[in-house]
């Protein structure tokens, strides 16, 4: 019996080390970095290490960061660039955790981010800034009007542009002569070819973008959503999307029982012939995989007449980044002409530049024009003709949540 009574004190003793953590003092931040001239920041960052947390599912992107970006950062700024693969939702959660735990020094220096993750990070006050305006390359080469909003959320200098994406479908001309031109044609094609179409499971960005395209097309265009979150409008329109997606579900790969977990997985299905179409946010992505010999040379890309979503992706610095100076130098390097050109080349990556071509010197402009985007990539004119903007982030989150509820768990 006396043993019972000792149980509670004993538990308290076990928990003591953890209880004490609640009493740890919080340090006051003292950031003068935003007032420091950039040349001084560069000196300060010399010889340091920068950890860049980014989505790790694209082998070619990893390879570009590990080779080109890391080597150039070492050569130009004597900075060791360490890429850490992590999904954007997960690192936002990590920062939320650290903020709640009162950690003033975290482990992430730079993030690759946009859309709803940026919005969530800003709303929880997880980002350092505004720093983008302090970067010389942003001042010199970027059109400020092109980076005011990210998925409808004001950027306000809390992220620096890194690249531009536009959604394309990929298909193999050896298998399909004429791909569908519109969303209704796509639906007809899927139903006529059971088992050969699928899309990555939202919240994967590419899969999430696919359902947004359908949303625009079956509810009468994107314009109505641009004014910002309107729950009544969403409640009225979303069922049209769910019924469209549920109608095709039995005709999907694996009968819609399961979906590829990310776009890399869909690429694999496509390259192995299990899926007839793949999709990407990077128009030259197919060319990149052809050059890597992962896709056959007969692969081409196409867009639907209903529209093709484009967006800008960014880099941002967490509130508790241990090396903010190094992160700023890296963010500045990433938006430099050289880095943007290198990642534009399909062999390296094939991500569109976020620069304003009119601000470049004639010589630099020529360098961009000389890049061979390959036969699989659409011409800039073809892409621009169908470009439509991203939906405000609140819709995106509602769509992803609703997809799980109304399509996956139906």
């Amino acid at each position: 019996m006396p043993r019972r009574c000792t149980l509670v004190p004993m538990l308290m003793i076990i928990m003591l080390p953890f209880l004490l953590t609640f009493a740890l003092p919080a340090r006051a931040p003292g950031d003068t970095l935003l007032k420091t001239p950039f040349a001084r920041i560069q000196d300060q960052a010399r010889g340091t290490k920068v950890r860049w947390y980014m989505f790790g599912g694209w082998a070619h992107v990893n390879s570009w960061v590990d080779t080109y970006a890391a080597a150039e950062m070492k050569k130009r700024h004597d900075i060791d660039l360490v890429r850490v693969p992590m999904d954007a939702g997960v690192f936002i959660n990590k920062l939320l955790n650290e903020k709640a735990a009162g950690r003033k020094t975290g482990s992430i220096d730079l993030l690759w981010i946009n859309g709803e993750n940026f919005k969530n990070a800003r709303e929880a006050d997880l980002l350092f800034g505004p720093f983008a305006g302090r970067l010389p390359n942003v001042q010199k080469y970027v059109d400020p009007d092109s980076i005011t909003h990210d998925f409808g959320f004001p950027v306000a200098g809390y992220e620096a542009p890194f690249g531009r994406a536009q959604f394309v479908f990929e298909y193999d001309t050896a298998r399909i002569q004429t791909p569908p031109k519109t969303i209704p044609e796509l639906k007809a094609w899927i139903m006529a070819h059971p088992g050969s179409f699928t899309y990555p499971q939202p919240p994967d960005f590419t899969g999430s973008a696919f359902i947004r395209h359908v949303f625009y097309a079956v509810t009468g265009g994107h314009e109505q959503y641009m004014a910002g979150w309107n729950p009544d409008l969403f409640a009225q329109k979303a069922p049209l999307l769910w019924s469209w997606l549920n109608a095709i579900a039995p005709f999907l790969w694996q009968k819609g029982q399961t979906y590829p977990k990310d776009s890399a997985f869909l690429d694999t299905l496509f390259s192995r012939g299990e899926a007839a179409f793949s999709m990407s946010y990077h128009p030259p992505h197919a060319q990149n995989l052809i050059l890597q010999k992962a896709y056959p040379e007969t692969v081409k890309t196409f867009v639907l007449e209903d529209g093709s979503i484009f967006n800008t992706h960014f880099t941002a610095i967490p509130f508790n980044a241990p090396n903010k100076a190094g992160a700023m130098v890296l963010a500045n390097f990433l938006i430099s002409v050289d880095a943007q050109l290198s990642k534009y080349i399909p062999e390296n990556w094939g991500d569109f530049p976020a620069l304003d071509m009119d601000r470049l010197s004639a010589q630099d402009k020529n360098r961009f024009q000389a890049v061979d985007l390959g036969t699989a990539t659409l011409k800039p004119g073809q892409l621009a003709a169908v470009a439509v903007p991203e939906i405000p982030a609140a819709y995106l989150e509602a769509l992803e949540q609703g997809w799980k509820e109304h399509v996956l768990d139906k």
């Binding site: 082998a59 590990d66 890429r83 693969p85 735990a101 482990s107 890399a264």
Partner: protein, 261 residues
Amino acid sequence: MKHTVTLILLMLFFAVPAGVLVLISLASGWRFPDVWPAGFSFSGIALFLQQKEQILSSLASSFVFSLLTVGVTFFMCLVPAAVFARNDFRGKTVLEGLLLTPALVPPMTFAMGLHFFFIKLSLADTLPGVVLILAIFSYPYMFRALVAGFQTMGEHYRICARNLGAGPFSILWQVELPLLMPAVVAGGSVVFLVAFSEYFLVFLIGGGRVASFTGLLMPLLSSSNRSLAALLTLIFLLLPVGLFFILDLSLMRSFRKKGMA
């Protein structure tokens, strides 16, 4: 005849997959319906060479935290295992059962509870944090091996050494430890493998800052170029095999030197 069937079964289940990995690492474009790759290329190896620094550093990191985990579990278990093997006391069976539970219950259940407090204590995202979590989940293997080791050794060596005037420390160090070596190696190899191949706990507590080979491998598994993933898996296979081979060899030699084998 019967033995051939056994060997063929074993080959089919366990060696063929390894062989297929070798083929994939040399043939990135191997597709349905080819039973044998249509062509070979070195693109996987080229990717490997391109990223070799990151690969080698995460390999080294995995190696370091796994070895540290072996060390920590060894020091955690050595004396308690001796006490356990040599004493009978009330509740011993229950205590033994309790002490073995960390290897049985899903590690998520305690690791996720600890995570937030590891962040507060600055243990998250550090090597010591990762080693602690791995040790608490893998020590039962070391503990069982050491208890069994002490039991087979019996008390005679210790009593004999004590009668000859050796102190408790030199008994442990000079007499018992060498005799215990096979048990340490057996327990240590399991702990090493458990730590080396763990993905989730290192991801959770290491937060990406403590690099690991599994963390590097994970995103590659769904990539359309399978060569690199296959190549890394092969390295995974060879490294511990090499390590255990060296260990076995040096152990044999040291026993032979002492005239025990």
